[in-house]
């Protein structure tokens, strides 16, 4: 849900008559922040492939965003701002993180986090998650921003800082690579994708 810097203050729930408007606003913002941070953490997990690195990335992103609050004057979409900041940190530290990748298999993490799926579903999810880790990071970013987080092509382009045409191109190549990697029963982990 895009961040609305000018929410309708009059739209309060009559059922909350016993609760002050301030605390209701606070709860609403807390929920909004939880939603955004969940998106960040989810995206980072699949992007980085290592849960510890992903959490480091999200924490660093939050710290940077909070410490740069003065520059928020021009921020109209908090979610886009958060994802852009996370992208920048990821790109800056990609090489460092790459050396640590694989300490904890992401398939295991996903299996632990998700409710026990049916066997067929689980195989499909495992193959997809494994294949995502093989994709070039540029393609992985776009596939996840659009497919996992539901950003529009323009929003994804703004987050990554590339033209929309580049987003479309990366999306197309990324999805096709995923399709090929997962086409024959989970051979993703053994394959390498060439950009």
């Amino acid at each position: 849900m895009p961040w609305d810097p000018y929410p309708d203050e009059s739209a309060t729930d009559p059922a909350e008559s016993g609760v002050t408007a301030t605390s209701a606003r606070r709860r609403s913002v807390d929920e909004e922040v939880l939603e955004h941070v969940s998106g960040l953490r989810r995206y980072a997990l699949l992007l980085v492939g290592d849960p510890h690195d992903a959490d480091d990335l999200v924490q660093e992103c939050l710290v940077r965003v909070i410490s740069q609050a003065r520059s928020w004057r021009k921020v109209n979409d908090l979610r886009a701002y958060l994802f852009t900041t996370l992208h920048n940190i990821f790109v800056d530290g990609h090489r460092r993180r790459q050396t640590r990748r694989g300490e904890v298999p992401i398939e295991t993490v996903i299996a632990d986090l998700l409710a026990p799926p049916r066997q067929q579903d689980w195989v499909e999810l495992r193959d997809l998650v494994a294949a995502l880790q093989v994709l070039p990071k540029e393609q992985r970013e776009v596939v996840l921003l659009v497919g996992l987080e539901g950003l529009s092509y323009l929003e994804a382009a703004n987050v990554i800082g590339v033209p929309v045409g580049t987003v479309m191109s990366r999306l197309s190549r990324g999805r096709e690579a995923l399709r090929r990697l997962t086409a024959h029963g989970g051979t993703a982990a053994r394959l390498r994708v060439v950009k």
Partner: protein
């Protein structure tokens, strides 16, 4: 569909449209053409189905991790929520201030229209309309918000003492706006006008300038409007013989608080005895240059227009000079 129809459909559908269809972002008018294309092109249909399965799998992951951040870095989440709330409050205040200004302008416009309407019959009956209130020209030198540079802090007290000399029985003291994150950076006598006036300047941590213009008037005549620079806003009020104008960045919601601080600061001056007119250090009735107490360095305010005519030569002061007082942004 026959062969020619298939070739026609294939030629009009590109890869981007296939992905737009998968993502539900294909415009309605193209949807039929792409679906027709998929009926004909089995290979593309197979790919689109695979992409849809990918999306469905990602959606399952998303649903499973819907509240993935619950309990994650609670202090950071709280700090982020605090920042969001603070920013929203600030923007709401800005909107309220903008609405107030707009309402004032509309009220003035309506009043002007009413006056014009009331005057019309007199014109129609050939009676010359003479307003009872004459509106003299603005009596102070220059226009508000037109001074791009700030004199050194040392001139602030001398300017204030010079102005106090025109009040005889009322001492003046510089209001303390540090509670609002504003640090005094200087002042100057505004010469060139028919009434004595001074300009006092503060700055915030971002180097933006807030000006307080204080003038002494001797009549009860209302003063004319004056213009401020682009992106600035001015607040005017009067207290006895003193006329005030506070000019600052338009986006600052704390200007009204600054007004209250100034009013209370002027109301309860601390100690200093009034300085007789003409006795203040370096003060005369004539325009005079003010000597800087520190070396000039570039100022940072960029929003204001060029220096007003008749203003004395200006020296610049860097906001960093007062950084030790820990100014905050407006």
């Amino acid at each position: 569909m026959n062969q020619s129809g298939a070739a026609s459909a294939r030629s009009t559908v590109d890869e981007g449209e296939l992905h737009a269809l998968v993502d539900g972002r294909l415009p309605g008018q193209r949807r039929a053409a792409v679906l027709t294309h998929l009926l004909i092109e089995g290979g593309d249909r197979e790919r689109v189905e695979a992409y849809r399965r990918q999306l469905a799998a990602l959606a399952r992951i998303r649903k499973g991790l819907d509240r993935y951040a619950e309990g994650f870095a609670p202090e950071l989440q709280r700090a982020l929520a605090d920042t969001v709330l603070r920013l929203r409050r600030r923007r709401l205040m800005l909107h309220a201030a903008a609405g107030l200004v707009a309402a004032s302008v509309l009220t003035l416009a309506a009043f002007g229209a009413l006056e014009a309407w009331r005057a019309e019959p007199e014109i129609a009956t050939a009676i010359v309309y003479e307003p009872e209130l004459s509106v003299p020209e603005f009596p102070f030198g220059g226009g508000f918000g037109q001074h791009t540079k700030v004199r050194p802090e040392g001139d602030r007290d001398r300017s204030l003492a010079w102005l106090a000399g025109h009040l005889r029985d009322q001492p003046l003291e510089l209001p303390d706006l540090r509670g609002l994150g504003l640090v005094p950076v200087g002042g100057q006598v505004l010469d060139g006008g028919s009434a004595p006036a001074v300009r006092l300047a503060w700055t915030d941590s971002q180097g933006r300038i807030v000006d307080l213009y204080v003038g002494v008037v001797s009549s009860n005549a209302e003063q004319a409007f004056t213009m401020v620079g682009e992106s600035l806003v001015s607040l005017h009020w009067r207290r006895g013989r003193l006329v005030f104008a506070l000019v600052g960045p338009a986006e600052s919601p704390e200007l009204l608080q600054a007004v209250h601080s100034v009013v209370s600061g002027i109301r309860q001056p601390v100690a200093p005895a009034p300085v007789p007119a003409g006795k203040a250090k370096g003060a005369t009735g004539e325009p005079r240059p003010i000597r800087a107490g520190v070396e000039p360095v570039p100022a940072v305010q960029t929003a204001a227009p060029p220096v007003a005519e008749n203003a004395a030569p200006l020296r610049e002061v860097a906001p960093t000079k007062v950084a030790a007082d820990n100014p905050k942004p407006l």
